[in-house]
């Protein structure tokens, strides 16, 4: 995507106007974002156009509004200064004295807001809104305390809504093309409605706002947080006029909704050709790779952004997630240090620190950090999710559930929180609730095999085997499209899972078929890995062994039972086609190496993968199958654990 010089100049002008307009209305974040985008434009064709400066500060405005603005200018300056000094109540009362808010209808001279410009009205109401938010946060008191629930609301909302309603009803002016005074009140109304949970209406008003004035990033962001699903997004997009911001919005939305794919990446590249220096786009690109589970690429990209601007903290939480999943301790510690020396009072900084502590297995410290992030920003959904994870790790399940609920209420597409909720309910032994959340999570990310497996497990636990098998087959189809060692392993695991499900469903024929496929897969993996010898990936097939070493005794008994079944089917040994060399090499792992291998399963990219009991069983069976004849060796590996199963295995042999 390339733009002509004139287009770029126009874009530049619009962006400059937008920055000025946003900061005139004290929309700091939007103004910051737009300014960053502005400076991301290529610099080589900067025209020395002095006349544009005047136009930047005097965007085309409705003459009536312009007149009003000019007459109230001193008052406006006062209000703006007050807002900048965070004296919101006082700022609001500059244009709208307190009693006149209540008595708008009884006032003889008509509504107060008729006599002030739209800009002033926006500033006033926005200040009121912020004041209300501040009050609300204060009332909520402690994070996860008694008052920290949905019952605490912004007290100013009804007043603001009433005034906005009245004012917006009255304006029947014809929308002038590119009138910079329009669209803001609509945005504010959308914001208020969204806070009132009146989402459909909010979307309508936000759409109207962006169609009137597309250069307000806040409106786009608010809109993106209200999108429910992919279909919904398509509908919303159909209502939009095409434009550069609509394009960025679409990319951003899809990323938020976990729809990362190569097309999206290429779209981001297109945008980057327009804004070559945009850190935002670069980090969106990295985020896309992260969502696609390409951690190495994501890491590289994030690292590049870091090098471009070490003090740009906005993306640090994602970067720390990537580093967490890569297990890169020292880099994570360094990033945390960097963040805390740049600004230790940013939620992002706290998230990085919390992630570092979580990786160092210090859940208490991590919880403190995440809570600190929440004190700084209650609506930080990533912090809520991570807090939930940590609480789950610390086995404080109820707090975890509460945290996850907060996370979902702030970001409905956060499938990690949904997945975590499922796990929490799993731990509370409420399978139907857990299944519900697994399902919701998997609708957000339909192609995620881990989620599908969790769903299948939930279904199987409720004895809905047919559905479980269906889900697993879908997961199998998904995993088949991926490649890489890890994917292969998931594939083998899925096969095995299917086999055992069929077994449970008394369908022996299918069960053996899948188990055979599974063994083939496992041995294939073994075979491909053997030449590599010393690499880390070569040890992956050995992981099940370790898991057995770590699992509960119960799993051995069940593994043994299943193994008995299958071995009785396939005895003598040769029929199994088992390469004894392969088994030998499996067992060549000596004990110290076993100990040095990580005993817990590394957390998957989206959250801690807690080993549910069923998974251990499944792996146990795998090992039971492979190691059936080598129980003595297994004894060496883990004498106490296997001793119970030992007799049974010997029986089988006999």
């Amino acid at each position: 995507m390339t733009l002509s010089k004139a287009q770029i100049l126009e874009l530049r002008l619009s962006l400059q106007q937008a920055v000025v307009s946003c900061s005139e209305r004290c929309l700091y974040q939007s103004s910051k974002w737009m300014a960053a985008l502005l400076s991301a434009l290529p610099e080589d064709d900067v025209g020395e156009d002095v006349s544009s400066v005047g136009r930047v500060f005097n965007p085309p405005t409705n003459p009536a509004q312009l007149h009003l603005e000019q007459t109230e200018f001193p008052k406006y300056l006062l209000a703006k200064s007050l807002f900048d000094c965070r004296e919101f109540q006082r700022c609001a009362s500059v244009f709208l004295p307190r009693q006149s808010i209540r008595n708008t209808w009884t006032s003889r001279q008509g509504a107060v807001y008729d006599r002030i410009s739209r800009k002033a009205l926006f500033l006033t109401l926005y200040a009121l809104l912020i004041a209300g938010e501040k009050q609300k946060t204060e009332q909520k008191a402690q994070v996860l305390g008694t008052a920290d629930n949905g019952a605490t609301v912004n007290q100013q909302l009804p007043d603001i809504r009433r005034i906005l309603q009245a004012s917006l009803d009255q304006t029947h002016e014809v929308a002038v093309e590119n009138d910079s005074s329009q669209g803001w009140l609509e945005y504010l109304y959308g914001l208020v409605l969204a806070k009132d949970k009146n989402e459909d209406l909010a979307i309508l008003w936000l759409l109207r706002s962006v169609s009137l004035y597309p250069w307000n990033w806040g409106a786009w962001q608010q809109l993106s947080s209200l999108i429910r699903s992919a279909q919904h997004l398509n509908w919303v997009q159909s209502q939009l006029k095409p434009g550069i911001l609509a394009f960025i919005f679409s990319v951003h939305c899809r990323l938020e909704m976990h729809q990362a794919n190569p097309t999206l990446v290429s779209e981001i590249s297109q945008l980057q050709s327009v804004f070559p220096h945009s850190l935002f786009l670069e980090s969106q690109r990295a985020l896309a790779f992260y969502r696609m589970k390409d951690l190495y690429e994501a890491n590289l990209l994030f690292s590049k952004v870091l090098a471009l601007d070490p003090r740009y903290l906005d993306f640090f939480d994602h970067y720390s997630n990537v580093l967490y999943n890569l297990g890169s301790h020292d880099r994570l510690a360094f990033v945390a240090q960097l963040a805390s020396s740049v600004d230790s009072h940013r939620p992002e900084t706290c998230l990085v620190i919390g992630n570092y502590y979580s990786l160092s297995s210090r859940p208490e410290a991590a919880i403190t950090s995440f809570r600190r992030a929440l004190v700084l920003d209650r609506s930080c959904s990533a912090a809520w999710t991570l807090l939930g994870h940590e609480y789950l790790k610390a086995q404080n399940t109820h707090a975890a559930v509460e945290s996850y609920r907060h996370a979902i209420s702030h970001a409905r597409h956060d499938y990690r929180a949904l997945f975590g909720l499922g796990q929490a309910y799993d731990a509370l032994e409420q399978p139907d609730l857990s299944l519900h959340y697994y399902l919701r999570a998997s609708t957000i990310r339909p192609g995620d095999t881990d989620l599908l497996q969790a769903v299948a497990t939930g279904l199987a636990a409720m004895s809905r085997l047919e559905e479980a098998i269906k889900v697993l087959k879908r997961a199998l189809a998904c995993s088949a499209s991926e490649d890489g060692v890890a994917a292969k392993q998931t594939h083998a695991e899925l096969l095995f899972r299917l086999g055992s499900l069929y077994n449970e469903a008394q369908n022996r024929q299918e069960a053996t078929a899948y188990l055979e496929m599974c063994l083939d897969k496992a041995l294939e993996g073994e075979a491909t890995c053997r030449p590599a010898g010393t690499t880390v990936s070569a040890q992956r097939p050995l992981q099940p062994v370790v898991l057995v070493d770590n699992g509960p005794v119960l799993s051995y008994q069940r593994a043994m039972l299943l193994a008995t079944e299958h071995l009785s089917l396939y005895l003598p040994f040769g029929v199994l086609g088992l390469n004894t060399d392969g088994v030998e090499s499996l067992l060549h792992l000596r004990k110290p190496e076993l100990q040095s291998m990580p005993l817990n399963v590394p957390r998957t990219s989206e959250g801690p993968a807690f080993l549910s009991r069923q998974r251990v069983v499944r792996r146990g069976v795998l090992v039971g199958l492979i190691l059936g004849t080598h129980v003595e060796r297994l004894l060496v590996l883990s004498p106490q654990r296997v001793s119970k199963g030992h007799g049974a295995f010997l029986d089988v042999k006999g």
């Binding site: 070490p310 301790h329 880099r331 510690a333």
Partner: protein
């Protein structure tokens, strides 16, 4: 800033690890352990228990140096070879290897996380390990309650309590602390790179390229810049507090001020520590108190107690009042001090704080002795009672509560009271012996000073100069180091005074100059020292008849208001003033002053010795006026008083005065009898001037006797004449002997007037004998003396 951890602590931990790993060779083991323990515990394995004044502040200096720079480690470690495979490697290299091994923030975390591995496992842990099938760890392990074990555990705990920001801060400061060793490390390690201090930056360099510096700057702040002038040092609150405690303890123990260099360094540390412990206000308080800065003292005292009062639940109000009272009296606000102290006493009673109550009462007793006029109205009305009663009360209380210092001090006060009232010496001695027993039994080192100074005073009274000199020497040689500086100063002055009595002025000055200059930075001791030096000088000037210089000194000395200095000193100055006046022949002024003093004394119930001294002065004045007989009753009174109080040295003076009057009355035989009996005892006192006076009186008496012989010359026979002549010659020989001895004594104290007088007398006697040559030579010596003295003045 962290509570406990600082870069230097990491260094110490690394050293402990080296020690555990066996890298420390045998000959370095003791220095290393000594080094670590001296910084961890408040003890030193080597060196004498009570160090010389120069060494007293060494510990604070070392602590500061360790906190400020890594060089302290280098000095200690570099001389030792490492117990290692590689030749030529020193312990310092191993230590650096360890420090530079901590190459990122995460490694720092790991360094602290693995600390518990060095500890011996508890039983529960061992059981768990066997259950898991692990072998118990081998190698050197630290017992959990050993000094090193406690240090390691505490460090681990403190680290886990740190917030991330503080850990990052610690890491940055550690990098800064370690950086001076980069040059050394580069020589040993060829892979060294500019970014070696952080392995993440080193690894990221190929990824980030030229931007690496920018990233490093963002992460580390300005400290990486070469021209970073920020002198912030990371010291832990723990270091600051231990330094503070050390300083306060020293200040209280020795009563001196903190040396300038240490104070400056400490202020620098305190500035960078951001937290100011309340104890530092106390330190400031005592410092400004000693420097004599009145408003600052009050300000700091109030501030200290404002901070401590809230934070501790125990009531400290009485201590605040106590301190306030002492400070007020020290600065001369005696009335306020009385009020404050009374309030302190009642508060202490209310709060049942016996320790404070006893201390306050003891102080009050001493105060009332020093300023009887202020507490006079209290005596009758309050329950405090008179001096004796309150002392008995204090003694009983101190015994009950086991406050040895107070007990011994009460006993000493009792002895002193008895002595100054002129009561029985043996009772006083009994008290002193009891106090001495307590001091020896309980090893109350601080009380040795007062004990010995009292015994010196006692021997002085009894006129045994040898004993008092010995006691003085004993204190100065053996106990001065461990005692309060005030005692040291007083006894040194006392020693100088005794030397001056014997006429050894140069030695006296040398003794005074030998006092530690740092200790003299406190205002009060400095004033006392200057005063005393002035007194010795004044005495010498008076003896030399150098009246102009003496006037100059006196005018300075008399400016000291009696509220500022001790009453003893005031009386000494007064005596010198009178002497100077008499030497100037200004008898009238001298007499008025004397009368005023005597009148004052009779109002207040003051020390007997003072009164006797004044009486003797008066007798002397009468003598000078040429009417010695008028002083007879006074001299008799003085003698009897001195005898009763066993004020031996004064008694001899009184006897001398009496003999003078007898001489004047023509009772030469009686005078001679008295003087001959007294003289040997007087020589014992070591006061040369008195001895000289007595000798000269003896000569007068003997001359008088010779004259009597002439009067009663009755017989004319040659045998009789020959016998008379022989007797006369013998008597004149006695006169000469006495005059020679007197001359010797006076020349010892360098008194010109008296020496000349002796020479004149001698010449007169020679002339009377008809030995004109000798008379001439005496006159010659006389003139020589005068000229010498004139030359001295001119």
């Amino acid at each position: 800033m962290s509570r406990y951890l600082a870069p230097s602590k990491i260094g110490l931990l690394a050293l402990v690890e080296l020690y555990i790993e066996g890298a420390v060779p045998n000959d370095a083991a003791i220095p290393v352990i000594n080094f670590v323990t001296s910084h961890l515990l408040d003890c030193n394995l080597t060196g004498p228990p009570s160090p010389a004044p120069a060494e007293q502040w060494k510990k604070a200096e070392n602590t500061i140096r360790l906190a400020v720079s890594i060089q302290h480690f280098e000095e200690m470690l570099a001389p030792f070879a490492a117990a290692d495979r590689l030749p030529g490697r020193t312990l310092w290299d191993r230590f650096l290897e360890k420090l530079w091994g901590i190459d990122s923030l995460h490694t720092l975390h790991e360094f602290f996380d693995q600390l518990p591995d060095h500890l011996a496992r508890t039983k529960a842990e061992l059981r768990e390990m066997t259950e898991r099938g692990e072998k118990p760890p081998s190698g050197v392990l630290l017992s959990r309650n050993s000094p090193f074990g406690v240090f390691v555990r505490r460090s681990h705990l403190e680290f886990s309590k740190l917030h991330f920001n503080h850990v990052a801060e610690l890491w940055k400061m550690f990098v800064k602390y370690r950086q001076p060793t980069a040059g050394h490390w580069r020589r040993r390690n060829p892979h060294y790179n500019r970014l070696s201090f952080d392995s993440v930056l080193l690894d990221g360099e190929h990824e980030w390229g030229a931007q690496t510096d920018e990233i490093a700057l963002a992460a580390y702040g300005n400290m990486l810049l070469v021209d970073d002038q920020n002198p912030t040092l990371l010291v832990s609150t723990d270091d600051i507090e231990s330094l503070l405690e050390f300083q306060v303890e020293h200040v209280q123990k020795y009563g001196t001020r903190v040396p300038r260099s240490i104070r400056d360094e400490f202020q620098k540390l305190l500035k960078s520590s951001r937290v100011v412990p309340s104890l530092s206000h106390y330190l400031n308080f005592s410092d400004s108190w000693r420097s004599g800065e009145f408003p600052a003292t009050f300000d700091h005292l109030h501030r200290y107690f404002d901070y401590t009062m809230q934070s501790r639940d125990r009531l400290f109000y009485q201590y605040a009042l106590l301190n306030l009272g002492i400070v007020q009296s020290d600065f001369g606000c005696h009335k306020e001090a009385v009020a404050t102290m009374l309030e302190a006493i009642s508060t202490a009673k209310e709060n049942r704080d016996t320790a404070c109550l006893n201390f306050a009462l003891n102080w009050f007793y001493h105060f009332s002795r020093a300023h009887p006029s202020l507490v006079k109205e209290l005596e009758g009305s309050s329950m405090l009672g008179s001096g004796k009663e309150s002392l008995a009360f204090l003694r009983a209380k101190a015994k009950e509560t086991g406050m040895w210092i107070l007990w011994s001090s009460a006993l000493l006060s009792e002895a002193k009271l008895g002595l100054s009232n002129g009561e029985s010496i043996s009772t006083a001695l009994e008290s002193m012996v009891r106090s001495s027993q307590i001091i020896v039994e309980k090893n109350v080192k601080t009380m040795i000073g007062p004990q010995l100074s009292l015994s010196i005073a006692l021997w002085d009274r009894l006129g045994v100069a040898v004993m008092s000199t010995m006691a003085c020497e004993v204190f100065l040689r053996c106990h001065a180091r461990s005692s309060v500086f005030d005692d040291q100063l007083k006894l040194t002055c006392r020693m100088a005074g005794m030397l001056a009595d014997r006429g050894q002025y140069e030695e006296a000055f040398a003794t005074l100059e030998a006092i530690d200059t740092n200790s003299l930075r406190s205002a009060k001791p400095d004033q006392y020292w200057r005063l005393f030096r002035g007194l010795v000088k004044l005495r010498r000037d008076l003896h030399h008849n150098n009246l102009d210089s003496a006037d100059g000194l006196l005018s300075q000395l008399l400016q000291n208001s009696p509220e500022d200095i001790e009453p003893d000193m005031v009386s000494i100055i007064d005596m010198f003033h009178i002497e100077a006046l008499t030497r100037r022949q200004d008898f009238e002024t001298a007499f008025t002053k004397l009368d005023r003093l005597i009148a004052e004394l009779s109002h207040e119930n003051r020390d007997v010795s003072l009164r006797i001294r004044l009486l003797l002065c008066k007798v002397d004045l009468f003598d000078r006026l040429g009417r010695p007989e008028r002083g007879f009753t006074i001299a008799m009174r003085a003698a009897s008083m001195a005898w009763r109080a066993r004020l031996v040295s004064l008694l001899w003076q009184a006897v001398g005065a009496l003999a003078h009057i007898l001489n004047a009355l023509g009772e030469f035989a009686a005078a001679q009898q008295l003087l001959v009996a007294v003289l040997p005892r007087c020589l014992e006192t070591g006061v040369a001037y008195t001895a000289g006076t007595l000798y000269s009186l003896l000569a007068d008496a003997r001359i008088g006797l010779v004259g009597e012989m002439k009067d009663r010359r009755g017989g004319t026979g040659t045998a009789v004449v020959a016998a008379e002549r022989a007797e006369r010659a013998e008597r004149l020989g006695g006169v000469h002997k006495a005059l020679d001895s007197a001359f010797g004594c006076f020349s010892a104290v360098e008194d010109v007037d008296k020496r000349c007088e002796m020479l004149a007398k001698k010449a007169a006697v020679f002339r009377a004998e008809g030995d004109l040559v000798r008379a001439e030579s005496c006159a010659g010596t006389y003139l020589g003396l005068w000229e010498e003295e004139l030359a001295r003045k001119g």
